[in-house]
Symmetry: C2
Subunit: 205 residues, 2 copies
Amino acid sequence: VQIAVVTFDGFNELDSFVASAIINRAPGATALLTTPAPVVTSLNGVQVHGQRPLEFVADADAVLIGSGIRTRDVVADDAIVSALPLDPGRQLIGSQCSGALVLARLGLVEDLPVCTDTTSRPFVEACGVTVLDAPFHAEGPIATAGGCLASQYLAAWTLWRTVGEAAAREAVHYVAPVGEKESTVARVMAVVGAQVGAQRPQPVG
Amino acid sequence: VQIAVVTFDGFNELDSFVASAIINRAPGATALLTTPAPVVTSLNGVQVHGQRPLEFVADADAVLIGSGIRTRDVVADDAIVSALPLDPGRQLIGSQCSGALVLARLGLVEDLPVCTDTTSRPFVEACGVTVLDAPFHAEGPIATAGGCLASQYLAAWTLWRTVGEAAAREAVHYVAPVGEKESTVARVMAVVGAQVGAQRPQPVG
């Protein structure tokens, strides 16, 4: 299972690396930093080489859109938007924080509420999308997370939906703090598990 | 306040980036990826450019030693070890997971117990160091964290000890999941606060 973690210039390291590092703990799942340029620079000035070009999103089993300080520029860039042919019919799709703006721009969340971070919230609402006071929400193949460390929920959901609940549980257990592993696993799996079975409402008529 | 986040080849992204990204949220604190080569490659194959050379550790106000799959090679490399002239008399010093091996190699934890991850534990114990079943421990200027996501405690402790408790609290609040901000802040500040006042035992005689 290959998961594209889409990472733009100005990215927040937490939003891309927490998800990718947790996913990569699971046997059978590979998260790959997917970038619009060979090198992207984080909001803190860290230069990182992408592992796949943006075209990889078409082939990935799951696509997670990261967050950063330039997401509003991203959604205004037709070249980037048209390079993201996401298909919820055959892919899992997730967003972290301001990544919800990209899902809104792509018309993927017209009929479902999303999670995003406090700063991005007014911009997401301006797209006509309902924002929840919650860290994580999923319906069918689409999941959104809000608040940098909610990326652990996005990672666990992605693993649960691709390589299974047990693999998700083991990956979270591995990365959890020593002495807090059981409580961390219980919290993460409860938040994610409440939504894994949720179905996206079907359009009427 | 400048904080060196020492990052070696084979590094775990969570261990370097969770700490650095949280620290960089606090006004007045700057975390910089400090590497023994211009580019280091993570355990998942992500290439990252260092922001400072290893020599920077001598000038930093705090030095956090990250973790990875090659830390045992690092502590066997006299050139790298001698390039880490850490001074607990004037610097805060912390380690994440296998980074405890580096502190042990430098003789910094001969008289205090440490936290480390489950995998590194036997190697740390083989150095004659006591390992705790806890995510975070600090005495005086030295702190250790175990389990990737315990890096949030290491970051909060570093901020608390440098730019203050309020700044630490605000940074954790910022990165916490939406809807879980108060509970996350309470948990992190309780774990860290229990140890901020702890003094390192003074040698007798």
